[in-house]
Amino acid sequence: MFMSNPFAELSATIPAAVMQGYVILMVLLVIGGTVLDMIHKKSAQYFFENAKKAQQNAKRTVDTGEKASIALKTLANEVLTSGEFCNTQRRISHLFTMYGFIIFVATTAILIFAYPTPATPAPDILPLLWHIGALMLCFGGYWFWFFIRVDVSSEGLSWFRLERADLFIVSLLTTATFGLIWSYMQFNGMGAWTTLFFVLFIAASTTLFGSVLWSKFAHMFFKPAAAFQKRVAHADGSSENLPADFDLTDPEVQKKFPDIPQYMGKNPAYMGAGIRREGSSHY
């Protein structure tokens, strides 16, 4: 099952051109949904106005080279390793879901455009990656859904209570789950069941890519931009009007705030993890 290309077998009933057209339609829906989402929420307007305000409060100028270095740091930390999550479990679950989704979507596009029929056999690695991507997505997603989702783990809501915030994760999970079941059914020649799960797979993926305006799908585009802006604001000293991150061993800081060395000594000790000592579960 893991080595078989489910789309090649599908091409016997659905022409490759239709499958390719569907993928293009989904890409257009994501682009359109994201643009409409930006217009509706005025997120781009907010982002640029905020950046302008930060620039006015800047204490120093961040040049292009430094901005490029900040962009690389944002890429390495916030984008590629989900560094913004303070909850380690949530970070790991997000990494599984994110990389699973990327692998799943990329291999789907490659299989459909480059190896759509049995006449063009795909290298074994591609269907294998397609299945691994779906499994990673399911692992990270179901972990999040059942155990980490903050309104369930923190607010005591039942895990099967659905609301609009769940549209993205539910459509993501059903796409991967129905995709895997469809592949299994198809590999074992289970006729009508294969058709049923294929229909469910398409319904889930159409919901996923067609509901960008209403779901939180667009977070994958605006979150990196927000993380970059946060780092730039920190570098130029505007820091969103936050206090400076004082180094308590700096004699200048000790002179400015004489209370600190008086009570904490010249080289203050590590004072403990505080709120991070335990999970947020005192509701």
């Binding site: 903050v150 607010e155 206090p243 400076a244 004082f246 705030f257 904490m264 709120i275 947020s280």
Partner: protein, 160 residues
């Protein structure tokens, strides 16, 4: 004015939901980010503002210590054991930074042993002070309260 959340900063971790003494910080049903469900019940205690690991929560401070339109932001760094405040006026001309040690005691260590205290005298009953009011709640209008004046020392391991 009550708390509000910068949605682009919030990651929906739930620390504010956990700490809010009025139970009014919740996770919204559309984007799974934190929000204040009942702004008129917020007493601006700043607990959530300090607890937020991303500084995603802000409050417009009272007009009695800075003119409206100002910004009051706080960074509570438990590892350093300090709390830093920055008050900035709307026109940017006044920009004050304050830094102080965190003096919060470890959870569960500040429960008064009332059973061990002797009963209040007639004089204490007639006083406006609360029963067994700690000495560091200064009612004599003396100097500023400091750790030193109250005989307190900082210990490693600050908790909330």
């Amino acid at each position: 004015m009550p708390t509000f959340v910068y949605m682009t900063r919030c990651d929906g971790c739930g620390q504010c939901v956990d700490i809010c003494p009025s139970d009014i910080m919740h996770i919204d049903k559309t984007l799974r980010r934190a929000y204040n469900i009942e702004p008129n019940m917020c007493w601006e205690c700043y607990s959530c503002v300090k607890a937020c690991p991303h500084q995603a929560i802000d409050v417009r401070g009272y007009a009695d210590f800075a003119p409206l339109g100002h910004s009051v932001r706080v960074l509570r760094d438990e590892e350093k054991g300090t709390i830093a405040w920055r008050i900035k006026f709307r026109n940017g001309k006044k920009d004050i930074e304050l830094l102080a040690p965190i003096t919060t005691k470890p959870w569960g260590t500040a429960i008064p042993d009332l059973a061990g205290e002797s009963a209040p005298s007639k004089e204490m009953r007639d006083s406006e002070l609360l029963f067994n009011e700690p000495k560091y709640v200064r009612m004599d209008e003396g100097g500023l309260n400091t750790l030193e004046s109250n005989g307190l020392t900082l210990k490693e391991g600050v908790y909330y």
